[in-house]
Each structure stands twice: as structure tokens, then as C-alpha cells.
């Protein structure tokens, strides 16, 4: 792509010394039931060519709103820019008409959105959505744009890129959807890339790859990047400059090193203090009295769990291939215990969780509280449901958009007939407070919240019933570190108080280390290593586990890696032909219940 032709489409090319993007005095207000209120106030910053600007800060502080304002995609009709200007080179974006703005979008400024599920069109294949983005701004042939699309998918490490083109968003794992979004944004190599929590849903190894991709882009093309993230590790890895936001205002801005070493405001200091760090997780005391019980009551047991999805093809839609999403895994979670499930995106974590929650058909056996999930009556199923709560990976998609969030959180209580209406409201209010939401937000609807806030709503809902087992699918990944710390603390407190067990799915190894009792590492639908936290983190045996741990970004700009390790092997895929079931891995005990799979090559 020739830069000159591309710029001709939008605004004139920015002079090299001038900032690419200049935001001045930006104020965004939204109209609610109770009148207008600002969500971003007088925000000013600029972005130089080739620079990476990280925006971090409290969840709900207006980061996403700011990026939407730059794209002129603020939610209509509620939100509008009430003051300020956004200049791309010499052009004031706030004054552009829709037609001109359209030529800038995707081409010169691209954006990766926060919620991957709802951001992809459910009825169009991902191939179509990708190719279209490419064709919208370039004149290439359809074969060429298809090739570019495959290239982009491969770049974000989607296995079997070519056949994935035909798949629909709901057939992809959360992480894969996010990678499709990234591929879409990167395909056109824009001048400015706004990435709103781009790696939140990704496991660390892929996160590394994606970050590397961003850097490549920057190097080759001088792209400027606005990276919105809560992950201070990513900030330290990537940022040139950092903006810290809170309550819609910028509280601090500076060079990355300055921010990390000499934070000026209290809030930044708190934020940095809250960052979970690898190796410090030992702070959690494994209760020894519980460690060797006679036979701890298992809250949940999975034995040889299989989940497969049939893929259809051809005109008559016959089943010709199968996704072996979960291939015979077994584990158990005792009361009061936290089992973390880690692994590459698409390895079957969410699917395992859904099977446990009774949402996908499975083979094998699942027991909750000693009851086999198969063949339960209505009442029994309801009782089991009360014991198991799930926090979904994509918070927005899992909240009924037509209900007030207060009602959503109170709903489990209503369903299980707990308390009087008054008591319920109080309990909901208490929950809101504990997850860091204000009580008056109970009256709002899901779409009026930021990504992190929605996730907290989901957490509050799961906690409402005080279940025996909570399945938390990437539940803290979208939270800023301070809230994250607070939520993790809450989870721990609940565990201590009520003996809740957790199946904790996360890609964030630091968080995992922080919270887990035991860790299971999944790869391609199977468990490759399982053991206590210490066994896994201090003595990782399987090469895949080791690579996971190595890939964790360190929240210290001084220890920034020059390059993330690229994996030079074939991208593995759980999609297989009919009758070609993957080989079952054999786990061997290497001592103290530390199970490791034989690995041939790694």
C-alpha cells in the first residue's frame, strides 16, 4: 500500500513533526433519564507519529468513550461531544461530515472494540467481515483481498485461517473473536490505531504475539497507537507515554518510565500498588488444615469430559468435520478451593465451563455437590443451578439489554425466592458496593455501562446467591487493576466466609498465581499439566506451561523485552475430520499430585 494514495482519500498527510492526532478540551456528555451528565471532561492529549500512547485508569472513567469520540461513533442518540476538538493532522474530525469521516475510519484510524462477541456481526461469516474491510478502502480484487484476509488472520495466529473464514462469530472462542477484530483493524495498516483492551480476552502467548504485531506495524509503517488497557504489564511493555484517567478526567500523564517510577498523584500510586505481580502470589495462605483432609467433599467433579461441535459443509450441510473442543478432561474442585484453568485461547476453557453450567451437551460425567448432572428432575436442576454460578466471558452479551442492572442482579434472589423485596434491594445494593459500583447505578441499563462495569455487574449477579461453586470465565480481565484487586479480594473473602469454590478461567498468569490453589493447564482440549499453584509456578514441567509463564509481561518498563518470542511451529487446531479423534494424552504423577502429560517434542 502506498502511503500517498491512501492519504489522498482522507485528510492531508500530517507533517512529520506535528502530532498525528490532537485532542483538545474534549468533553463528552450523555443524556440519561435524569438529564445530561459529562462522562469525559476537558480531556487534552496529543499523539505523535509512531508513538504508543497508553490510556489506563479506572474502569468507567471514559476511556472507551474517548476513543469512540475520535471515531465519531459515540452511541446515538445518548452521547455527544459537547466541547473540544479532535484534529487528525489538520482536519478537525468533530466538524467532518459523515461521508468524509467514513473515508478516514478504518483507513487512517482503525479501532479494536472492547466486547468481541457483540462487536462482530453474528450473521456474517468472519471472512466476509474481514474481506469487506479490506475492500472498502482498497481497490484490490476479491481474490487478493481474500488472500490479505487470510494473511491477517494468520498474523493474529488463528489456526486454520483459511477454513475459519467460513465460520460465524458464535462458533469461535472469545479470544478468537477478539483476534478477528484485531485482524480486521490491522489489515489496512492505519495511521492511528485505537485498541480498546485488545488483549484482554487473549491468553498471554497470543497477547505477546499481538503486541508484537502492533510493534511491527509501528516499525514498518509509523502507525501511532492508542492502547487502552488495564494491564500495567502491557503498559510497561508497550507504552511510550501514559495517560491515567479517573472520573472522566485525566489525572496524570507522562513518559512511561516516569509514571512507573515517579507517580505524581495518589491514584496512580494506588493503581501501581494494586498490580498483581508474578512471584508475589505466595501471599495467599493455603489453609493447611484443609490441604490434607480425610476426603474433602468435592463440589464439582469432571470425569473424562468430552465436548464436540459438529461442523457442516457442502450443499446438503452434512457433518464433515468436528471441533474437538474438550477431549476427555478430568478434574475435581473441593469446597473452599480455587482451581484455575489456563491455556491458549480456543483450547476449550469456556466450553468446559459451559458444560459444567449445563449449557452445552457433553459426554462423560459431571457431578456437582455429589449429584450427577445427567437425568436430573426440574427441582433438582434448579437446586444445582443455585449451587453453581457462572460469570460469562463476554459480559455485555450475557446481560439482558432490556433489564435494569439492579433487577438483573436481584433476579437470582427472586428466582430462588430469597428474602423480601426490601431485603433483596439491600442485598443488591451491598453487592454493588462490594464490586465497586455505586448504588444509584442500579437503575441503569447494561448499555449505559463501560466494559469493566458490566463485568462487575455479572460478578455481583453471580455472588448474589452465595453459591458453592462459581465459574469465573475471564471475569477480572476487563477490570482495571485497582478494581481487579478489590474483586479478587472479595472473591477470597467470600471463600473464607462461605467456603465457595472457584473454577477460575484466566489468561493472566499473575492473577492466577495470586488466587489459585491448584492450576490446570489446558491445551487443545486436554489438560497437559495440573497441580498445586506452587507445583505449576515453581516447577513447570510441561513445555507449554513454561512458555505461558515466560510470556507474562512484567509491569516494569525497565525490563521491557525487545521481542516477544515467536512460535515457529504449526498453529494447532481442534478442528478435525470425522473419525479422526485426537490422541488421548496420558497424565503421569510426578509427585505430590502434580500431573504432567508426556510431551513428544516440546
Amino acid at each position: 500500500m502506498n502511503a500517498a494514495t491512501k492519504h489522498a482519500a482522507g485528510a492531508p498527510a500530517p507533517a512529520a513533526d506535528r502530532p498525528v492526532l490532537d485532542v483538545a478540551g474534549l468533553t463528552i456528555s450523555v443524556r440519561g433519564e435524569d438529564g445530561e451528565r459529562p462522562v469525559v471532561s476537558e480531556l487534552s492529549f496529543s499523539l505523535a507519529r509512531g508513538e504508543t500512547l497508553c490510556i489506563a485508569g479506572e474502569s468507567g472513567s471514559g476511556k472507551s468513550m474517548t476513543s469512540l469520540a475520535i471515531m465519531a461513533l459515540l452511541p446515538q442518540p445518548q452521547a455527544r461531544i459537547s466541547a473540544g476538538s479532535i484534529r487528525l493532522g489538520d482536519t478537525d474530525l468533530t466538524a467532518l461530515d459523515e461521508g468524509r469521516m467514513r473515508r478516514i475510519r478504518g483507513n487512517r484510524i482503525a479501532m479494536i472494540f472492547q466486547e468481541p462477541m457483540t462487536s462482530l456481526n453474528p450473521v456474517l461469516s468472519i471472512g466476509r467481515q474481514l474481506v469487506e474491510a479490506i475492500e472498502a478502502h482498497t481497490g484490490v480484487s476479491s481474490a487478493e483481498s481474500r488472500r490479505l484476509a487470510i494473511e491477517a488472520l494468520t498474523a493474529v495466529r488463528i489456526p486454520e485461517a483459511e477454513s475459519r473464514l467460513k465460520q460465524y462469530p458464535h462458533e469461535l472462542s472469545g479470544g478468537m473473536r477478539q483476534r478477528v477484530m484485531i485482524a480486521m483493524a490491522l489489515a489496512l495498516k492505519p495511521d492511528v490505531l485505537i485498541a480498546d483492551e485488545p488483549t484482554t480476552a487473549l491468553d498471554v502467548t497470543v497477547q505477546g504475539e499481538v503486541l508484537e504485531l502492533l510493534r511491527d506495524l509501528q516499525r514498518q509503517h509509523g502507525t501511532s497507537v492508542i492502547l487502552i488497557t488495564h494491564d500495567m504489564g502491557v503498559v510497561a511493555e508497550m507504552a511510550d507515554r501514559v495517560i491515567i484517567m479517573r472520573y472522566g478526567r485525566m489525572v496524570e500523564q507522562g513518559k512511561v518510565a516516569d509514571i512507573f517510577e515517579r507517580p505524581q498523584v495518589d491514584y496512580t500510586r494506588d493503581l501501581l500498588a494494586a498490580v498483581p505481580r508474578m512471584g508475589t502470589g505466595g501471599a495467599r495462605q493455603v489453609p493447611t488444615d484443609k490441604a490434607e483432609p480425610s476426603q474433602p467433599t468435592d463440589v464439582a467433579v469432571a470425569r473424562d469430559l468430552h465436548v464436540r461441535f459438529d461442523l457442516t459443509g457442502g450443499f446438503f450441510g452434512r457433518v464433515n468435520r468436528r471441533v474437538h473442543a474438550v477431549e476427555g478432561i478430568s478434574f475435581s474442585i473441593a469446597a473452599n478451593e480455587t482451581l484455575s484453568l489456563v491455556g491458549e485461547s480456543g483450547c476449550g476453557k469456556s466450553t468446559t465451563a459451559k458444560a459444567l453450567a449445563g449449557l452445552v451437551p457433553y459426554h462423560g460425567e459431571l457431578e456437582i455437590g455429589g449429584r450427577n448432572l445427567k437425568g436430573l428432575g426440574r427441582e433438582a436442576r434448579k437446586a444445582v443451578r443455585r449451587d453453581v454460578q457462572m460469570i460469562f466471558q463476554d459480559p455485555y452479551a450475557s446481560l439482558d439489554p432490556r433489564m435494569r442492572v439492579g433487577d438483573l442482579v436481584a433476579e437470582p434472589l427472586v428466582i430462588h425466592d430469597i428474602g423480601t423485596p426490601g431485603e433483596r434491594t439491600e442485598r443488591v445494593a451491598a453487592l454493588f458496593e462490594r464490586v465497586g459500583l455505586s448504588v444509584d447505578q442500579m437503575e441503569r441499563y447494561p448499555h449505559e455501562f463501560s466494559g469493566g462495569q458490566r463485568q462487575r455487574i455479572c460478578i455481583a449477579r453471580a455472588l448474589a446467591l452465595r453459591p458453592k461453586l462459581i465459574i469465573a470465565d475471564e471475569s477480572v480481565s476487563a477490570l482495571d487493576v485497582s478494581v481487579q484487586a478489590r474483586v479478587l479480594q472479595l472473591l477470597k473473602e467470600l471463600q473464607a466466609e462461605f467456603g465457595v469454590a472457584y473454577l477460575f478461567i484466566s489468561h493472566d498468569m499473575a492473577v492466577v498465581e495470586n488466587i489459585s490453589d491448584r492450576v490446570a493447564v489446558m491445551y487443545l482440549g486436554q489438560i497437559v499439566e495440573m497441580g498445586t499453584r506452587d507445583q505449576i509456578f515453581s516447577n513447570p514441567r510441561h513445555p507449554y506451561t513454561r512458555r505461558l509463564i515466560e510470556a507474562v509481561p512484567v509491569p516494569d518498563p525497565q525490563r521491557r523485552r525487545a521481542r516477544f518470542a515467536r512460535m515457529e511451529r504449526e498453529i494447532p487446531s481442534p478442528v478435525r475430520k470425522l473419525g479422526d479423534a485426537p490422541q488421548k494424552l496420558v497424565l503421569t504423577d510426578v509427585g505430590g499430585g502434580h500431573l504432567v502429560a508426556e510431551s513428544s517434542d516440546r
Binding site: R385, M390, I415
Partner: protein
């Protein structure tokens, strides 16, 4: 790690719910208010019909026709003109409102209700129940409405309630079909999964979570259904089921006179306008209701 990060919340004060009643919010919208007024006027017109004009709806007046037997156009004596038998059209339209309101609102509403219930159940339940319900719907749909009407007419004494029943029996199927399709798409949404995991029962999922999403569709079918059922009533009456002459209904005033629409346009225009106004009024209210019940539309002027 216990730094206070949450926005300053002092004590847990549960806010008094500031939910203005749906009704109050409805009345605040001028368009919805217009709709409500039209509906109220129609109902009032129907109820008070005998007191509003000086004529009897069935009285064939000698001076209501020209010497050649043609109806009279609107005038000071006959505000909306007279019909082919020399009866006062205004009086007939007012009296006809009774029939038409029952058909357009009661029968149509019943059809909507049945259709929604069937469609939502069939769309949500996989397997036998859903398939059976949908096939039953197909059967009902495949069955000719007119035939059913004629047979019922032959068996029962033609009456308004029979025709209302037939319309309800016949019209629910289309609604069921549409609701079915939408429900089967909604049922695959993740928030429905989420509801299942918190133990929400089927009824709750269906009526608290799926139904509100169907509201726009239901409103569309409900309001458009008013016109079509009122007109359908005329066809059925013509075939001998339903109200018989000289009882007026908007539908049969149009139906009787439509071939005369060039010679006596008022005979078609006024009852047509009445149907249109009623349907529009319900639509205005329905639209407003939908906006009010749809949170994502907040902030719209």
C-alpha cells in the same frame, strides 16, 4: 490492597425508585397523547352513539336519497352524507364503531395473544413440543379461513361473537409464525444462557426476557392487525357469518359501498378514514410504549 477505589458511597442508601409510571410517561408524549385521545373519542363515540346524532342508524329516510335513488353527499343535515338506502352515514359510522372496536381490539387482541403464546413456546422449546406446536400452526395456517367461517356460520347463528372468534382463530397463526422465528433466534443469545445458569425457570425466561424483545414485533402486528381484521369482518359478514344487515360496521359499510366509490366517495372515504385513524392511534401509542419500554432508546427527544 484494600485501597478505597469505588466512587464515594457513604452508606448503603437504597434509592427510592424513580421510575415514572409507564402511563405518566406515555401521556407526556404529544404523539402518544394524540393516539390516546383518538382511541378515547372512538370508544366514547361508540358508547354514546345513540345520543350523538338525531338519527337512527337503520332508518332509511325518504329524504336521504335523491329522486333517482342516489345517496346524498355530506351536507348540513347529513354531516357525512347518506348511504345507498338513505341512512345517515355519520350515525352508522358511530354505531359501527361498536362492532369494529370489538373486532379490531378484542378479536385482534385475542389472536395476538394466542399467536404470541404459541410462537414463543414453539420457538423456545426444541424438540417435540416446539415441532408439534409449529406443525399445528402450519396446519391452522394451511386451513382456509373462509371455509371455516362458512361452516361455522352454517352451524351457529351468525353473530358478532362468532365472527370475532373466527378472526381470533384464524389470525393468530401469522403472529405465531413471526414470533416463532424471532424467538428461535433470541433463544440462542448468550444472555438467555446466562439466565439459565442462575436457575431462571422457563416461564421467567419466556416472559421476562424474551417477550420484551418481541414487543416491537407484537406492536407492529397488533396495530396493523386492527385494519385487516376490521376489513376481514366485512368479508366474513358478507359470507353470512357475523353481523348481518342492517347492523353497521366500518368494514361492511366499506364493503357494501366500495363499487360506488366514484359515484359516492364519502361512503368509502369516511369509514376508511375511521379505520385508519383507529389503527394509527394504536400505532402511535404502541410506538411510544415501545420507546418507553426500550431502555436503549432513552434520551431521544
Amino acid at each position: 490492597m484494600t485501597s478505597p477505589i469505588a466512587p464515594e458511597v457513604s452508606a448503603i442508601t437504597v434509592p427510592a425508585r424513580p421510575r415514572a409510571g409507564v402511563w405518566r410517561r406515555l401521556v407526556r408524549r404529544p404523539l402518544a397523547l394524540t393516539g390516546l385521545v383518538i382511541i378515547a373519542l372512538t370508544v366514547a363515540g361508540a358508547v354514546l352513539a345513540p345520543y350523538l346524532t338525531g338519527y337512527d342508524p337503520n332508518e332509511q329516510m325518504f329524504d336521504g336519497l335523491t329522486l333517482e335513488g342516489a345517496p346524498l353527499p355530506p351536507s348540513a343535515t347529513f354531516w357525512l352524507g347518506t348511504d345507498l338506502l338513505g341512512r345517515d352515514l355519520l350515525t352508522r359510522i358511530l354505531h359501527g364503531a361498536r362492532t369494529s372496536l370489538i373486532i379490531g381490539i378484542v378479536a385482534n387482541g385475542a389472536a395476538l395473544l394466542i399467536g404470541t403464546l404459541v410462537g414463543i413456546t414453539a420457538g423456545y422449546f426444541r424438540g417435540f413440543v416446539g415441532a408439534a406446536l409449529m406443525r399445528f400452526t402450519d396446519l391452522m395456517m394451511a386451513f382456509p379461513a373462509l371455509l371455516l367461517a362458512i361452516c361455522l356460520a352454517a352451524v351457529f347463528q351468525p353473530s358478532l361473537w362468532i365472527v370475532a372468534m373466527v378472526i381470533a382463530l384464524v389470525n393468530w397463526v401469522q403472529t405465531a409464525r413471526i414470533v416463532f422465528t424471532e424467538t428461535s433466534s433470541l433463544a440462542e443469545r448468550e444472555f438467555i444462557d446466562a439466565e439459565r445458569t442462575i436457575g431462571a425457570g422457563t416461564l421467567r425466561i419466556l416472559f421476562r426476557h424474551i417477550l420484551p424483545h418481541l414487543l416491537p414485533t407484537i406492536i407492529v402486528w397488533g396495530t396493523l392487525g386492527i385494519s385487516t381484521t376490521v376489513l376481514l369482518e366485512a368479508t366474513l359478514s358478507y359470507l353470512g357469518i357475523g353481523v348481518q344487515p342492517p347492523t353497521a360496521s366500518w368494514g361492511n359499510i366499506i364493503f357494501e359501498n366500495q363499487t360506488y366509490f366514484q359515484a359516492a366517495p364519502w361512503l368509502v372515504f369516511f369509514p376508511g378514514a375511521a379505520i385508519l385513524a383507529l389503527a394509527l392511534a394504536f400505532n402511535l401509542v404502541g410506538d411510544a410504549l415501545r420507546d418507553i419500554l426500550d431502555p436503549t432508546q432513552r434520551g431521544r427527544a
